[in-house]
Subunit: 395 residues, 2 copies
């Protein structure tokens, strides 16, 4: 696993990232990922929010074909809650990308172009800048060999570092990916934006199966603040350029590992994070129950502020899990912090108040005492920096 | 409605508050409310947390009789997650109160004494101090006329002011109350601790009906941080000393108004509050849907931090409500801040980013566009002070 490479690590992919002037800061804000083929299979997972941004509505339609030639992504604006005009902007962006790629020599239709946007909800995009940027980025991509890192930088919002990873399989095929997302990371979802590429030979069904499985175990189990975006999109594209057809198991495993690594990078760069926290629930009646209980603990503001303060206040963990809609034995709950038991059979353990939580990583394990289901949720503490960063985002 | 009087405003009630040494600070920490009769009807609502503190388990048993002579309340320790030993401590406390009242001349059994505790979860109470305190507080109450305010002060934890209220009904009967609670205020619950008294003549069923109705519309719709305590208890006691039997409607109304006022006091003194926020959802398919949607918005950390920053970031309201498990029309949602429309038909309104949210009160109204159900949830912003106060509570 290399974090110095991303979507252009697999054969058959080009990418670019430019500053199109969408962000007032002048930073990189437009990214393109292009699949040179020979195959153009694709799969996707989208936000479950009922309020979906225009690019999500567009890309959902595009993906019904199971085929994708390019992905255009912008930061600096989510194009969400922008009405029919916002949807027309997304459509026009896809048309502009298709036209520019066709002019360059690759006959492309708008229906082969996915669009992803991220940034503030509610404002229209500056379409003059987007349109000019699309022409420029196709030119830029055509001239260079690998713009993977620039693409990863161009989708950043409050992220402080680009997130990319590549896994070179011993069978001579590769999976690469990039992602952005620092807040509004939440349950039952993908993350904000993520593009994964592979040169393996794999059809849309194989890709969808691998992606769905991976997202359920990675991005769906990252919960920074319980808030869920209108724009979340995870895409998986295959070029088939390696001419190797991996087994479904091998593909599943590789995509899972790439998603898991990107997920860890998102957690580490989450807004205001001072602690990386892993909440594991064991002894649940089912894996689903374990996920639910772990998520309830991970979302509890009192638990998260205590962890920010390195305070081993295990009573808040019990109070939180007691509200989870799962079966538990109220007199048999066991909790440990960083491997030290702090609560046994629902009663405080000796030395519980002295456990050292001053490090940057905290492991919380809660056993519900009723079964063998288990699962983990990645989360973060709730810090002053989180409040600061989120109290003046739009203004 | 007078906030200078509380549980001793109705005829037939005495109260006291003392410093028993349970709190290391030496502040008031033990309260007693005593019903002199002639009636001793009582009703209660308890936390729905599966993890219940010892005093909740005890008081639930006591209330099955519909009868209560006294309530003993302590701050400085929740006596939650303390196992069988903690339950014995609660039982011993009730026995001590019964013995002291009997010695004073009012034959009392432990089964007539409710016990409430609040403070840190997980530690045993210092029973030597509690026992000595019980003897002292009964003596104190016997000597004085009205200790209502001292009682209200003795149940404070992170509260900065005591909360009490009295409503003198024109029909010559009175309802009074006190409450504590500043954090861990959450859904589907009473608040932390609340004792309401009345000199109206009313049996346990009439009291339970009035209390259940009032709690559902007041404390159950206050959501400061989505965290739910192990100790929440709301008690309603009647002495019948006014010899007036109000109609059920009149009783319901008076208890509702007292609970509503105490609820507003809790909201105003919530941990770290800089803004009092009222989230109202209209146009829902049902009142239940409106409550659910308003609660999802009220609990969203990104909405709450934006309000702390006086930032009219209405897109976060839409992103939050889009995850509520209720029916809504994703293209017909309307949002206003302090009466100014900021989003109409799911699209930003002109001037939306300039709405002034700098005041201490913010009204958010969200119309879902599918029906006529409506409801409001009281909440607060998420501030630096909330993080500060909760990052080092136990240490």
């Amino acid at each position: 696993m290399l974090r110095t490479q991303g979507v252009t690590a697999p054969a058959g992919f080009r990418a670019a990232g430019i500053a199109a002037g969408i962000k007032a800061s002048g930073k990189l804000d437009l990214a393109l990922v292009f699949n040179e083929g020979p195959d153009h299979s694709a799969a996707a997972v989208f936000t479950r929010n009922k309020i979906k941004a225009a690019p999500v509505l567009w890309t959902q339609q595009v993906l019904t074909t199971g085929r994708l030639r390019a992905v255009i992504l912008n930061s600096g604006g989510a194009n969400a809650c922008t009405g029919p005009g916002g949807f027309q902007d997304t459509h026009a962006t896809a048309e502009a990308v298709a036209a520019a790629l066709s002019a360059w020599g690759t006959e492309t239709g708008a229906i082969e172009v996915a669009v992803c946007s991220t940034g503030l909800i509610g404002d229209r995009l500056p379409m003059d800048k987007v349109s000019a940027g699309v022409r420029e980025i196709v030119h830029e991509m055509a001239g260079g060999l690998s713009g993977g890192e620039e693409a990863a930088r161009a989708i950043m919002t409050t992220d402080t570092v680009p997130k990319q990873v590549a896994l070179h399989h011993e069978g001579n095929w590769t999976v690469g990916g990039m992602a952005k997302g620092a807040g509004m990371l939440a349950p039952s979802l993908a993350t904000m934006l993520c593009v994964i590429t592979t040169d393996a030979v794999a059809g849309p069904e194989a890709l969808q199966s691998a992606l769905k499985n991976a997202v359920a175990r990675t991005f769906d189990r990252l919960d920074v603040d319980g808030s869920c975006s209108t724009n979340d999109t995870v895409l998986l594209l295959s070029s088939g350029a390696s001419e190797v057809t991996p087994s479904q198991d091998a593909l599943d495993d590789a995509v899972l590992r790439v998603c898991d690594d990107l997920c860890a990078q998102l957690q580490a760069d989450a807004e205001g994070v001072t602690k990386r926290v892993l909440i594991t629930v064991t002894g649940a009646e089912s894996e689903d129950d374990a996920v639910t209980a772990a998520r309830v603990i991970a979302r509890d503001s009192l638990v998260k502020t205590a962890l920010f303060g390195s305070d081993p206040n295990w009573g808040r963990v019990l109070a939180a899990v007691g509200m989870a809609p799962v079966k538990l034995d109220a007199e048999q709950i066991t909790v440990s912090f960083n491997g030290s038991p702090v609560c046994v059979d629902s009663v405080g353990a000796p030395g519980a108040r002295d456990v050292d939580l001053s490090g940057e990583e905290i492991a919380v394990v809660v056993d519900l005492g009723v079964g063998s289901g288990s699962a983990s949720i990645r989360t973060t503490d709730l810090s002053h920096a989180y409040v600061e960063e989120n109290s003046a985002y739009s203004s």
